[in-house]
């Protein structure tokens, strides 16, 4: 299994290109945390249960992402700064299909 390259724009507008492993059962929120692209305590607060929206991000590339679960959809309906391309990072599992994915972290709320 190999890594995929993902571009993540942090909350200060800085773009980071990082290697994300596809064989570690990780999601996008955890990738952001592992590279410390957002301060601890401001992302992944609920641990990845789609219950806090602290890992909201905007998907900027046209990758085919897994469909939203009802939980994710409902959480985004209550979150702020939500756009058409908003997703919760914790619900995006890292797979080989995500090579070249580009995302931007939504503001902290």
């Amino acid at each position: 299994m190999s890594d995929v390259k993902i571009k993540i724009k942090d909350r200060d507008g800085v773009v980071h290109e990082v290697d994300a492993p596809t064989d570690m059962n990780m999601n996008l929120m955890e990738i952001v945390r592992s590279y410390e692209l957002a301060p601890e305590g401001t992302i992944g607060i609920c641990g990845g249960m789609a219950m806090c929206a602290s890992c909201q991000c905007y998907v900027e590339s046209d990758h085919q992402l897994p469909e939203m679960s009802d939980d994710e959809d409902a959480m985004l309906a209550e979150a702020f700064n939500v756009k058409e391309n908003s997703r919760l990072g914790c619900q995006i599992h890292i797979t080989e299909d995500l090579e070249g994915l580009e995302v931007e972290l939504a503001p902290e709320s």
Partner: protein, 352 residues
């Protein structure tokens, strides 16, 4: 003034278990929590989620874990100051600490254990420009006393359980209840969703979806809100109301503890792993709120930290007492309520 041996800030699983370990050492505890109930995140965010890594519990719901902890510590009669946030700390001349909450409740103890998790839960406020200008003047994020809303025109925004449940409750109290949500779908207990539907059908709840409150109007006090309703044709609705209650959940903030002079790193309090003491002697930090090399934010790690913290606290309070840790299988558990639990004695009897 509330006096205790160990003042625990945060009534999540780690804080609750600390009461047990302290109790075994005959130390009394009092807990402060900003939430109205004990249990921290387990009760507030995910009571119905199963946890699989509590030793000895192949599977336990977060809410049940909290109930079990409350049962386990009952005999040690912990005190609780709930719904209040620890605001300030002061070191007194006798070396003890004085902690005052946002509501002015004073607590005095020689030992402080911060078990604050990710911080105190603060309401998530919608992004409306002039929102803060109307706080306490028609805008509230918590419902403390429903009677405040009697015969008032109330507008609730949000799509989760609390928005649904309070709409149902206030339908019988307020003169008019309007519920605004960005979607047509709500996320809540089926029973609550159905009740709101029924109340809407008989005209007791006025439902506006998909819509969002975008502006507030009033001079000195809230008088009306501007609602943006989307649909085939977007429209702006100006609605006269007395009270606006946005219920968009809670988000944890380290808050005032961040200004207590404690060494902070990555939104957490640095501790010495010898006994989880902070840079201020007598103040400990346990559970998710602390950080040290190799830290893992796990409930089971919080339990361990609470246990070591209590041993160190005992030494601090009684520096001259000799003490060795006793197993509960040997010493049993003697509650402050006079209860005593211990292993049944085996009999020594000859068999003919």
């Amino acid at each position: 003034m509330i006096k205790t041996d160990i003042l625990i800030i945060g009534a999540g699983p780690t804080g609750l278990f600390a009461v047990f370990e302290a109790g075994l050492l005959q130390l009394k505890c009092h807990l402060i929590d900003a939430l109205p109930q004990a249990g921290g995140q387990c009760s507030e965010i995910y009571p119905k989620k199963p946890i699989y890594d509590i030793p000895g519990f192949p599977e336990v719901l977060a809410g049940d874990l909290v109930n079990n902890l409350m049962e386990q510590i009952k005999a040690f009669q912990p005190g609780f100051t709930l719904g209040e946030r620890a605001n300030t700390i002061e070191k007194l001349d006798d070396g003890t600490f004085l902690v005052t909450t946002n509501k002015g409740t004073k607590h005095n103890a020689p030992i402080i254990a911060i078990a604050g998790g990710l911080g105190s839960f603060e309401p998530r406020k919608p992004l409306i420009n002039n929102l803060s200008a109307f706080e306490e003047r028609g805008v509230a994020y918590f419902i403390k006393d429903p009677e405040v809303y009697r015969n008032k025109k109330v507008l609730i925004a949000g799509g989760g359980d609390s928005a649904l449940d309070w709409s149902i409750f206030l339908a019988d109290v307020a003169s008019e209840v309007t519920l605004v949500h960005r979607r047509n779908e709500f996320r809540g207990a089926l029973d609550s969703v159905e009740k709101v539907q029924a109340l809407k059908n008989i005209g007791k709840i006025n439902l506006i979806t998909p819509a969002e409150v975008v502006d507030l109007k009033g001079s000195g006090k809230l008088e009306a809100v501007v609602i943006h309703k989307s649909g085939d044709k977007d429209e702006e609705i100006i609605k006269e109301i007395d009270e606006f209650i946005p219920l968009f959940g809670l988000s944890p903030k380290l808050g005032p503890i961040g200004n207590w002079g404690l060494e902070i790193e990555k939104n957490a309090i640095k501790v010495d792993t010898f006994d989880y003491q902070t840079n201020i002697p007598g103040i400990y930090a346990i559970g998710d709120v602390n950080t040290y090399p190799g830290k893992l934010k796990l409930i089971l790690c919080g339990f361990h930290e609470a246990t070591l913290m209590c041993q160190s606290a005992y030494q601090r309070i009684f520096p001259d007492k000799k003490y060795v840790m006793k197993y509960t299988t040997v010493g049993g558990v003697s509650g402050f309520d006079g209860s005593k639990k211990e292993a049944p004695k085996s009999v020594v009897k000859s068999i003919d």
